[in-house]
Amino acid sequence: MKVFHFVIVGLLAFFGANCQKDNKSGASKKADTKLYIFNWTYYMPDQVRADFEKEFGVQIVYDVYPSNEEMFAKLKAGGTGYDVVFPSGDFVSIMMHEGMLDSIDLSKIPNFTNVDTAVLKKIKFDAGNHCSVPYMMASSGVCVNKKADGTYDKSWNIFARSDLKGMMTMLDDMREVLGAALKTLGYSVNSRNPEELEKAKNVVLTWKQNLLKFDAESFAKGFAAGEFSVVHGYAKNIFLEYDSTKRDEVDFFIPREGGPLYMDNMVILKDARHKELALKFINYVHRPQVYAKICDFLMLPSINVPAREFTKKKPHYSIEALSKSEFKEDLGADLDLYNKIWQEIRIGN
């Protein structure tokens, strides 16, 4: 059976090729020529990567993940091979706790001084930045289709409006939704007080009556398609789906009560094999011209002070709009409190 033989030979060749790739452990002593990055999709413009590769004469191997949780599950269960990862603040503290991060010698990152000290002061998950360098600060907000909704109050309580029932979604993200509710009640997004959380739960349950679904992934597509007229989500998702011509029809705002804020950071994994190159990369990102390019691509406010001179596009919201927002911090064992409440909201009663 010729086909059978062909298949066997093909497989052996395939195996052989792969077994060679496995012998990489001796290569770390050679000059670092490859950098392995694990990042969110669309979070870094291709141009920035290409420029880095050209300038330093190296190759970037770039893999992507859809969420912090999946990235963490993979790394925790034993996925190795990456040098630089981009976790959000609360995950930085978790990963530090689990001993997954390498400490960063800030003297090797001169451009770190470009980062806005006012922002750095707000950071509690890694005060002093021993293991992480901030990348992007952003917040979820509310996006409204101006045509469909008429006048509205720029507040989280837009979700309590029953006249918009069935046209709204909120993120399927426990910290984001509960954080929003906590803020409308005047509490902290990192509250560990069971009474405050119970009140927040009731707020969300009233909102839930008007929601069509909880969606953390496709809200942007649905919003752009006209399925929803009010969504709770991230600006860059929504505007990536929209053409620039239609942008005036929508209004993205950070509600006046403030909300949960997040900071995505660059970290170096403890078992990274190309640490020198990783440090060079992190330093490169905070070069003002480079960082400005990233801000323009994502249309987010710049936390790098000199870069603000170079940005060409106006971000979706300014740093001032975020003044009332708080960073999401890790909750430790109290995560279970939030879990229980979120479960009651999603599938109970």
Binding site: N18, T41, G78, T80, K221
Partner: protein
């Protein structure tokens, strides 16, 4: 008989329509000038991007095809042989094998993915395309085995007896009698395995090594930021390529079953 054919033809056509309507929509959007869901105009911009600006996408695509072909082949071979063994013989571990080869079907994918990752990490087996191949073969095996088994159950055993009486060795019986007569089952199993492998995201995400992205990994991670219509264009290209391949392999199929 004719009326039954009519009814089944109607259902079959409905099923095909059901399958292809989303495909038509997909193709339409691949020619849409803008990224949004509203049709703004006819354009080749996504095809242009696909062929000139998507190096990562093509390497992911190639990985997917390679792994699908390899894992489906190995799963088909292992599964077919296993099904033959289970169907007609009794031996020491039969019960064990029956239960165990059936289990990957039941376990949720994310659990299979994480447990395989823990296993590979535990034995210090480096993550790479090879680990994806192993994972895919593992979850493909029950599908192939069950399909071939159900085919073998209707097998007329007297043909095998006749072959043996005529002096055929076991290996001849295998290649000249059993396999040709179970070909529809083997092909169904193989096609199922290829489809499952091409589509898999969850298991692949956990066991993929750095730099060994497959197509689903590439696409699913886009989900939060809007999946680009370049993927639509790619899908159209894949369909066209498959159809061309299918028609040219019709002859190879005839050769395999020796008609």
């Amino acid at each position: 008989m004719h009326k039954k054919r009519g009814f089944s033809l109607v259902i079959f056509s409905c099923v095909i329509a059901f399958f292809y309507i989303p495909l038509v929509v997909l193709i339409v959007y691949s020619f849409n000038a803008s990224k949004s869901m509203s049709l703004t105009g006819f354009s080749f911009v996504w095809y242009h991007k696909l062929f000139f600006d998507s190096r990562d996408l093509w390497s992911a695509c190639l990985n997917s095809l390679l792994i699908a072909a390899a894992s489906a082949s190995v799963a088909t071979i292992l599964g077919t042989l296993g099904a033959i063994g289970l169907n007609w013989y009794t031996f020491a571990f039969k019960r064990y094998i029956q239960v165990v080869t059936f289990l990957p079907l039941i376990l949720p994918e994310i659990i299979i993915g994480v447990s395989l990752l823990i296993f590979f990490a535990g034995i210090h087996f480096k993550l790479s395309l090879l680990t994806i191949f192993i994972a895919h073969t593992t979850f493909n095996i029950p599908f192939v085995m069950l399909i071939v088994l159900s085919r073998l159950e209707e097998f007329d055993y007297s043909i095998l007896e006749a072959a043996r009486d005529l002096g055929a060795r076991e290996i001849d019986t295998l290649f000249k009698v059993i396999i040709p007569l179970s070909m529809p089952g083997i092909i169904s199993g193989f096609l199922t395995a290829v489809t499952l492998s091409l589509e898999d995201f969850v298991i692949t995400f956990f066991v993929a090594g750095p730099g060994s992205a497959t197509l689903p990994l590439y696409v699913y991670s886009m989900i939060r930021f809007g999946v680009s219509p370049v993927i639509n264009a790619l899908s159209v290209v894949i369909i066209a390529a498959t159809i061309i391949l299918a028609f040219s392999t019709k002859n190879i199929y005839k050769y395999i079953i020796g008609r």
